[in-house]
Amino acid sequence: MDRLLNVTTVLSVILIIIVLASVRRAHIRVEYSVSWLLAAVAMLVLSRAKPLLDTVRNLTGLPDSPLTLFLLGAGVFLLMFFRFSVIISHLRDDNVALAQRVAILEYHIQSLKNHEKQEA
């Protein structure tokens, strides 16, 4: 049990370091780093505060603390993946609209050029 909590602590710290380093190098935008940081900090706190983890375990009625920690972690990351799916969907829609706009504007520019050539 203690080993599992220690491993979770180490993984949480590594995740925080990776996220902060990525933000510093501009590999990830600040707004998208917040949810990763919150998730990592939440896992860190739960792995270090055993009474808190026990309270959560009692509230959820789960048989033991490692399972509670695992399910909480899985739930948090599932929510984050869903959030990113929403973001990706919006980005795809915006990207398609933008590509269509670029194509149409290029078409108009080409038409104007052809028109000018014909007049010249």
Binding site: V96, A99, Q100, A103, I104, E106, Y107
Partner: protein
């Protein structure tokens, strides 16, 4: 950039991706059977010579900057047609399966019926058109699903041989399904109380290339389209039961 509407004007759009083998003959046939109608090929970032051959055959080309898929391409064509002021748009495929001899019939029905969409259908009358077993099964399934939703039978819901008028253009330029658009587009129009009709057309076997549809993709297609249909139905049911508000915007459907 939107120009005034040209009453009675028709634009033929051909979405194409790597169709260098067939595109020139399709354009040639369109010019032959619909003389005077401009042809716009929407090139979905083909890696072959589709674009050059389309231009050489006398079509205008709208090259999109990167691969958008069928729905994105068709919508780009609809957007441009709207801006150029066309009253009617008919879409045919670039692989030569749709017979351009049927375009005048679709166009006549569009103009005379006043309905927003006309579907070129292989199955309104038995004209000898044949499809694969899996596709045929899918079409039968969607006929059953769509019958209660549309309130009338549709014989060929997956047909890409489609004509639309300016009312439908106005809807589709704002919102059009990106993947597998035919069935979802039909539902979107119907939920707006727009009308559609079917006219019989011939479907020819593919002359070049080969279909990319596999059994797994067919299954994905069914699930994807079913989800899109029901999402649209639910969305519009909610909207119909909501009191109309001033300035209510309609676009946003499709996926």
């Amino acid at each position: 950039l939107t120009r005034p509407v040209l009453p009675g004007s028709l634009l033929i759009i051909i979405p194409a991706f790597n169709e260098e083998g067939a595109i020139a003959s399709v354009i040639g046939e369109v010019h032959e059977f619909v003389p005077g109608a401009p042809v716009l090929v929407i090139d979905d970032s083909s890696t072959d010579e589709t674009r050059e051959r389309a231009r050489a055959a006398g079509a205008d080309v709208l090259p999109v900057p990167h691969h958008l898929g069928l729905g994105g391409c068709v919508q780009a064509g609809y957007k441009l047609a709207w801006e150029l002021g066309y009253a009617y748009v008919i879409r045919v495929d670039g692989d030569g399966q749709h017979d351009p001899r049927d375009i005048p019939r679709v166009f006549q029905r569009l103009k005379n019926s006043g309905c927003e969409m006309v579907i070129g259908s292989r199955f309104v009358t038995d004209n000898g058109s044949r499809t694969g077993k899996v596709r045929s099964l899918g079409i039968r399934f969607f006929r059953l699903v769509l019958r209660p939703i549309l309130g009338k039978p549709v014989h060929d819901p997956t047909s890409g041989f489609v004509g639309v008028n300016r009312n439908a253009l106005n809807v589709f330029r704002a919102s059009f399904p990106l993947d597998y658009p035919e069935i979802e587009a039909l539902v979107v129009l119907q939920r707006r109380r727009f009308r559609f009709e079917e006219v019989p057309v011939r479907m020819r076997p593919r002359t070049t290339g080969r279909s990319s549809i596999t059994a797994l993709k067919s299954l994905y297609y069914v699930v994807h389209v079913l989800l899109g249909v029901f999402v649209n139905v639910l969305k519009f049911e909610r909207r119909l039961h909501r009191a109309p508000r001033a300035g209510d915007q309609t676009p946003g459907e499709g996926g």
